[in-house]
Symmetry: C2
Subunit: 174 residues, 2 copies
DNA sequence: CTAAGTGCAAATGTTTTGCAGAATC
DNA sequence: GATTCTGCAAAACATTTGCACTTAG
């Protein structure tokens, strides 16, 4: 199961234009709560936003704990900062794999949902405007004031359902 | 947060006609795997299917551990049986609340998804044929062979977003 | 009879927390 | 200088597992 790998067939969604950097946005959030943008928090945010890959707490902790000198951040602080980022609306949980929540950016990136391949574990993103629209219609009937959603589609991805031929090629490359 | 409460506004979906009882279906599944329908497993299935409420492992364990004499089932066995029921396609996880998976029947009941009220924690069911159809169309474009999905819609339910009137009454009662 | 299952207690793995010292504003 | 944070070690969780005993088929 690989959380971060990306499919050749999966085009990257185009980035969304944002006014301020993630770090700045986080600082604003913290300030409003009377909390501080510490050295450690800044490092976590920068690491989290250094790429758009999905990640779980363990992966992030490892990346941050193995750093040199003043750039390492402890396990507890990573957990604490992840909660803050979620509260700030900058991160969201999109799935659960291996008993861990999988996070992704919820800032500077278009809204989308995920297909999850049951064979290779890959998360494949797809834009969700049509779904959001449909949900808006449905929930209105129930008097439900919708604020968001989470959708995971299960199945088998394109490359995992290919004929054996490509599987052989993959083996050759090892 | 209440997992099991049901809204007055939420009509129960009509049951689906099934050929055999949950217990029988489970027995067939087990037999095919060369496993046994033990007394304990039978008790768990009967308890699980005694009502259509959503539940989590802790709630089920409590109900089963507090029984008299030969009808009690241990914590481990409940967990083990829940996994089997999921594998048998009779139960599915529909949400996660308080660090626990929330289960519901996936047998003898129409396919649906859930709205989750962020105020009272209620799970409200709604039929999902339109969504399934839309997903079928979308995933086909990606060459993704869809086998299922999980959708949680977040927001505020009808009764939690009612005008202050009821809130005042509530305060008066304190 | 014998393979499979149960209950218990101990282990596991993730996440949270209390606290003393450090850093921020 | 007071308040907020950090890192550590310990605690708190839900869930899984090893094992001796029991049971279904």
């Amino acid at each position: 199961m690989n959380v971060t790998r990306n499919h050749a067939e999966t085009p990257r969604l185009p980035p969304v234009q944002v006014k301020i950097s993630p770090t700045e946005k986080f600082r604003e959030f913290l300030e409003a709560k009377g909390q501080r943008l510490t050295h450690e928090r800044r490092i976590v945010v920068e690491e989290v936003y250094s790429s758009h890959e999905h990640f779980d707490s363990e992966q992030l902790i490892n990346r941050l704990a193995n750093r040199k000198d003043s750039n390492r951040v402890s396990r507890s602080t990573v957990y604490r900062t992840l909660s803050l980022l979620e509260e700030a609306g900058m991160l969201r949980k999109v799935a659960r794999q291996n008993d861990r929540d999988v996070y992704e950016h919820d800032y500077g990136y278009p809204r989308h949902d995920h297909m999850i391949c049951e064979k290779c574990g890959d998360l494949i993103e797809f834009p969700n405007d049509q779904i959001a629209e449909l949900l808006e219609r449905i929930t209105r009937e129930y008097g439900f004031r919708r604020t968001g959603h989470r959708l995971e589609v299960y199945g088998i991805c394109r490359s995992c359902s290919r004929p054996p031929k490509s599987r052989i090629r993959k083996l050759d490359m090892i």
